[in-house]
Amino acid sequence: MSNMRQMRFREALREAMSEEMDRDERVFLMGEEVGHYQGAYKVTEGMLDRFGARRIIDTPIAESGFAGIGIGAAMMGLRPIVEFMTWNFSAVAFDQILNNASKVRQMSGGQFSCPIVFRGPNGSAKQVGSQHSTSMEHFYATIPGLKVVAPAFPADAKGLMKQAIRDDNPVVFIESETLYSVKGDVAEDQDAIEFGHAKIVRTGSAVTLVAYSRMTHVALDAASLLAKEGIDVEVVDLRTLRPLDEETIVRSVQKTHRCIVVHEGWSYGGVGAEIADRVQRLAFDWLEAPILRVAQLDVGMPYNARLEQACIPQPERVRDTVKRLVFRDG
């Protein structure tokens, strides 16, 4: 067993990027306020001092421009990490990610790869309003050619970030402002974690809760509430959305016979819809109830604090949904 250290999510990300920059000269980081300002959310604190302005590059506000520069550089063999101050602003660069990053390999008949990482905080924060609260992973997860990663804990953040940087494909790396200060154990020798492996973070028998990123913590909080009422739920933390570890989900549902997906963002055509499709196809005979989703209410994010909290999935809403499912025929 290697030594464990308590580390914050943001520190784990920084350590992963720094280690990969140490081991591979082709890796560089680019984004708004990543250097002199030390990162809008302090993820990149100290990195400019350590690696210099050639590799830690402050950009103007030009997401389409610097995402595109990253993609071209990746085609030429560099390994850019592109930070979006938040994923909301990636909408401006969506064309670059959809039409260039994800497609260049196939369009070129496999001649060019695009080893790039796009990363930043996603989804809601706290009362930042309609235009700063969108969960963008649902859009990106529909795109073949991309990989989409969404860890919930510091150790996974570190291991998956290392893998994302080493991966030969474009990777969308989903973080959350509300996760950056979360602490967790990280092994001193935490290495890259292979994509496509979900993790059971709580075992139980009544229902399978499938979640990722920040919502894994909400699902775990709901599980604690439910435990007090004698309901024992299992929580699957997806860690990567594409590739999706359907095996772990299905195995869990075969045991619990019920499934609820918890995610931020809207339910229409989202990651939860994809999971519901796979579970009903692959575990139809084991299901005892419809698959439900707990997602953002089907409206834009309001500013008012109470309305915002009502829109975002909360442990209480997850708890109530579980109870509806469990006591369906009771």
């Binding site: 300002y37 997401e63 909301n88 401006v92 706290k126 309003g129 834009g300 309305l307």
Partner: protein, 347 residues
Amino acid sequence: MAKESSTKASPHAHSDRFIEAATERALDVDHLAHLYRQMFLIRRVEEESARAYATGKVGGFLHLYIGQEAVGVGAIAALRPDDNVVTTYRDHGIALAKGMPAKALLAELWGKKTGCSQGLGGSMHLFDKAHNMLGGYGIVGGHIPLACGVAFAAKYQQQDRVTLCFFGEGAVSIGGFHEGLSLAALWKLPIVFICENNEYAMGTPLSRTLSIEDVSQKAEAYGMHRDRLIVDDVLDVEAHVAVAVERARKEQLPTLMELRTYRFRGHSMSDPAKYRTQLELDDHKQRDPMTRARAQLLAAGYAEDRLLDLERSAEEEVAAAVAFADDSPEPDLSLLAPTTYAGPFAY
């Protein structure tokens, strides 16, 4: 291929001419007093917002306009009430100058149902249709093409209404800025683009945002008129913007203006602004256009008593707005569906 007639060779020569013109004109003391009161009101509203943020009444991002008041107040003074304004998330001062009541603004920041957007929009998204305040927007540059659309609608409907579009110098690198200017010049839209160059985009100084120092130069390649000035004097701002507004109204031609200003606070409440020195900040505070307007009034013989009355009345307006925001009810969930779709909800 530039359009011959449309660019000004030297923005500085141009500026000087208008500064002269402004000083030659007899000073309208009551008008200046009116603008001073607006600036004073904005500053006090901002100070109350900051205080409410510290006590948790206001959440999310809060971008204050303190230091930049003369830009919004001077520019909007050059408009008719039926002219339109579009701006960024740093929108409090602009909204107040356009006529939004302080109580509707503060109630919005407090997240109350009586706010200008019923508590749904918040600080960054202030809208007031009755006053032709068409919103604050949160995605840098995203509102610039939208503002061109507002101007397009006026032209299409053969109205002589002008649109003012405000943005920071940080927005000048993004596609929305260039596409907006390109179309506005091509289609001769009645719009004035006002770049509030406050020297920093968050923590990034101008020198690391743009390859040139003169933002107004961006107009040249689009064959668009341009103007440029340092914001010391609110009347000077008004005089310069008035020229561009008339050009838009009479000739249906757009203008890009760069107004050099400075924000006294951080980018938002979470920014300690470590990227600049106290000396630099103090220097700019010395040249505060609001203080200058006050001194100008006194020098022009405006009685100090009247000035104090005017400030007192603004203080009362702010205090009443705070009380109004405090006492107002919160919105409830029933608002969300009808504000998402016009007509039945599409699921």
